[in-house]
Assembly symmetry: C3
Amino acid sequence: MTPFAREQWYVIAYAHEVGRELMARTVLGEPIVLYRTEDGKAVALADRCVHRRYPLSESALVGDTVVCGYHGFTYDTKGTCVAVPGQSRIPRTARVAAYPLVEIDGFVWIWIGDPARADETAVPRAEHLTAPGWVTVKGMEPIACDYGLLVDNLMDLSHETYLHGGYIGTPEVAETPITTEVDAEAGVVRVSRHMADAECPPFYSRSTGIDGRIRRHQDIEYFAPCLYLLHSRISPVGQDAPLFRTEITYAITPGKPGEVYDFWAVSRDFAVEDAEVTEFLAKFNHTVVMQDVTALNLLQRALDAEPAGYQELSINIDAGGLAARRMLAGLAAR
Amino acid sequence: MTPFAREQWYVIAYAHEVGRELMARTVLGEPIVLYRTEDGKAVALADRCVHRRYPLSESALVGDTVVCGYHGFTYDTKGTCVAVPGQSRIPRTARVAAYPLVEIDGFVWIWIGDPARADETAVPRAEHLTAPGWVTVKGMEPIACDYGLLVDNLMDLSHETYLHGGYIGTPEVAETPITTEVDAEAGVVRVSRHMADAECPPFYSRSTGIDGRIRRHQDIEYFAPCLYLLHSRISPVGQDAPLFRTEITYAITPGKPGEVYDFWAVSRDFAVEDAEVTEFLAKFNHTVVMQDVTALNLLQRALDAEPAGYQELSINIDAGGLAARRMLAGLAAR
Amino acid sequence: MTPFAREQWYVIAYAHEVGRELMARTVLGEPIVLYRTEDGKAVALADRCVHRRYPLSESALVGDTVVCGYHGFTYDTKGTCVAVPGQSRIPRTARVAAYPLVEIDGFVWIWIGDPARADETAVPRAEHLTAPGWVTVKGMEPIACDYGLLVDNLMDLSHETYLHGGYIGTPEVAETPITTEVDAEAGVVRVSRHMADAECPPFYSRSTGIDGRIRRHQDIEYFAPCLYLLHSRISPVGQDAPLFRTEITYAITPGKPGEVYDFWAVSRDFAVEDAEVTEFLAKFNHTVVMQDVTALNLLQRALDAEPAGYQELSINIDAGGLAARRMLAGLAAR
C-alpha cells in the first residue's frame, strides 16, 4: 500500500458541497465532519464525539454548534465542548480536533497534520477552475483502491489508448515516447508527450469542431501528494492557430486505506458560451472517469488476491509514475 | 469487546417463538437449536452434528428426535445419538450438549455454562409480562453490535432526549441528574431519574391521555447480565392520582461476538382493554427500538474502524453504565 | 482446509465453454485466462499482466494474441510478450506462464505444476462422456467451500437418503453397508454399495420406466484429486435384464481456497433417443446438485464459525471419504 503523507494539504470537498447539512468524509483514515457556519465559513471537526465515539456527522447542526445525536455533547467551531447533559461542569479535556481549512479555486482544502504547521506549506493552486474566461465541468468519484493506483493511472497516459480507446485515446498516445522531469525541491513531477500528427479523438473533435488530424500536447504537472494538472493543447495539423486549451485537473485524496476520492474537472477557454459543448464534456468525461473507476476497482481486487511479494515490470512509460511513487514515499517518511 | 459471562441464565427466545419447527439461535457464541416435543416441552441442543458439524437446525424433527439433514444421525431430547446410518452400533461418544431451559414470564431462559450448576442460580423474574391486569407489547431485534453497547444505551437514558426526541425524550431527561446504586452481592445496578415537572412526550400523552406537564419517574433495575427493567411512573403535575405505571423490559442476550439479541417489551396496567392504545404502543415502541438499532449498528461500525486504544470521556450520566460494565467484567472473570 | 495437490491435471472447463471470448477461472489459487486461437486450439495463460498485474481476462483478443486492456502489453499463445507501448525494445522477462492443456472427453484439462512434468502423468479418462451410444447431460456449479467437503460428500452416498430423499435417495442407501478398497499406487479409492432389493427413487423410475423395487449397485471410483466416477447399475428385482447403466461423473476442481468448481454429468446408455428423458435428467439432476451446493455452502459457513480444533466423529460409512483425504494429503505433501 502506498504510505500516507501527513503534514500536507488535501482537497476534502468542492466548495459547493459544504453547506448547512453535516457531511462526513474520511481523509488519510481520519473521519471528519464538515459544515458551514451561519456566516458561511467552512468548518471541519473530528467526526467522533469524545463521550462514546458516536459519529458527529449523525448529529444536529444548531446555529454554529454540533449537538451529538446520541447524548447531546455540544461542540463549537473550534471543537470545544460547550454543553454536556445532566451537569453544568464541562470536563476540560472535552474537545475534538478542528482542522485548518482553506477555500480556494472552488475546492475546500484540509490540512492533515499538526495544525500549527499548516501555514508553513502553501496550498497548491488550480486557478483555471474559477478564472474568468474559463468554463469547467467536474465531479467526484470514490474508488475502492490504494490512492497510489490512481496516481499511477494518471501519470501514465498510454492507458488512454487501451482503456479509453474511442473516447480520449488514439494509437499515437501509446506510441509516442514521453519526457519526464522531477523537481524534488518543489515536489513536482512533470511528464510530457507531444504528438505532432495524431488522430483526433471524439473528446476533442466534438468539443473543438476539428475534423482532421491534430497536433496534440499533453503536459502533466503532479504536485505531490494531491494535485494533478494535465495541460492539454490541441490544434489542427499544419496550422498554429486556433489553439484549443484544456486544463484537466485531478485532486487525489486518500480516504481510508484502500479508498481514494477522485475529484476530476475539465476546464476550457474555447466555446465557453456553448452549453452543448459543456453538457457533452460533462457527460463524456464522466464516462471516461468511470472507465478508470471500474478498472481500478478491479485491479485492486486482483492485487488483494495476489500472494505477497508480487512483481511488477516497468518500462519507459512508467518513469513518471515511478518518480511520483518515490516522491510520495519521501513525503510519507518525513 | 465486552467479555461474555458464562454460568448465567439468558433469554434465548419468547415462549411463543419455540414450536415444532427447528429454530437456530446463537448465544455467547454457542450455536443452539430449539424445538418443542410433542408434549410441548422446550428443548435446546448444540446445533452441530457430531459427525461432520452440519447444523442440526437444518434437520428434520421426527417425533421428539432430530434427524440430521445430511447423513441422518438422530438425537433425542437429551442430545444422545440414538441412530446412525449403515450400522447398528452407535459410538458411545455420539452425543451433543443439551442445555437446561426454564420457561417463565413468557420467556425461554437458557443456562450457558456447566449444566450441573444451573440450579445454583435463580432465573431473574419479570412477572408483569404475564401477570393478570397487565397488557404487554413486545418484539425482538438483532443488533450488529457488542452487547455492552446495548447495556450502555439502556443504562443512560439521557440519550432519549437526543436519539428519541419527539418520541419518548424531552429536554428534562437529559437535564435531570441521576442517582445510582450498586448491589454487588445481588448483582443489580439501580439508576433513578425523578423529574418533578416535565414535558409529556407523545409515548405517554397518547397512551395515558394526559395533555399537560407531568411528574415522571424512571427507575432502572439491571440484573446483570441479561435482564433490564425500567419502572416508569407518570402522573399529571400537581396531582398524585391517577398514577400510570409502565414496566419496560429488555432482555440483552449476547449472540456471536459483535451481535446481540434485543428482546423488548412494554407492559402497562392502565387502559388495558383499549386496543388502540395497545396498537399505538406496539408500533411506536418498535420505532423507538429501531432508532436504537440504527444508532448502535452505526456506532459499532465506527468503533470497528477506530485505531486500538481509543479513549472515551465519561461524566455523571455514565455512572450506571460504568457500574454495569464493572459488574459484567466481574461476572466474566469468575 | 484440505491442502492443494500440485503437479496434477484438473478440469478447468468444458470444451464447449472455451471460445473466442476471454474467460477467467482460478485453479488452485492461480488466476488463469482461457481462449481459443483462430485455429481452434485452447490456450491458458496466467491472468495477470507482467506490467501492473491487470487481469488479462479484461483484455482484447486480437487474432491469437491477448492485448492487455490497461496499457496494451501484448502476449502470444506461449505467454511471450510481443509488444509494449512507447518503445520497440521488449524486456526479456516480459512473459506470463502458459499452462499445458489437454482436450479430451469434452473436458479441457489443465496441468497445475511444472510444465516440463506434465507428460509424466496421464490425464484421467471419462470416455462415456463422448462415447457413441451414450447420452450425457451436464453442468457446472461453483461452491463456496473447501474442495475436501465436496470430496467427502461424494464419497459417502448415505447422504442421498437425507439430503436427496424423494430425488435419488431411499432408506436402503443409508442402511446398506459399504465396501472400500484403496489402490494407493494407482491413486484410486473405490467404494461400493450393492442393494439387492430397494425402493426405486424418482430419478430412476422416471428415466427407466421401472415401477417396482430394484436391484441397485453403486460403484464409486475416485481418481484423486479431480475425477470421480459413480457407476450406477439398476434392474428390476428378480430379473437380470434389462440392466440400466448410468455413469455419473464429477470433476472436482479447487478454485481459490474455500471455493471449488463442481463439474457434474449424468450419462446413460438407455433411452438415448428419448428427448423427454434427457430433459428430465438434466433438470432433475441440476436440482439434486443444487441441494448439495446449498448444504455445502451452509456447512462451510458453519465450519468457518467453529472454534479451532473442532472434532468430527467418523463411522463405517466414512471409510471412503477418510481414505480420499489421506490420499489427497499424500499427493499434496509430495
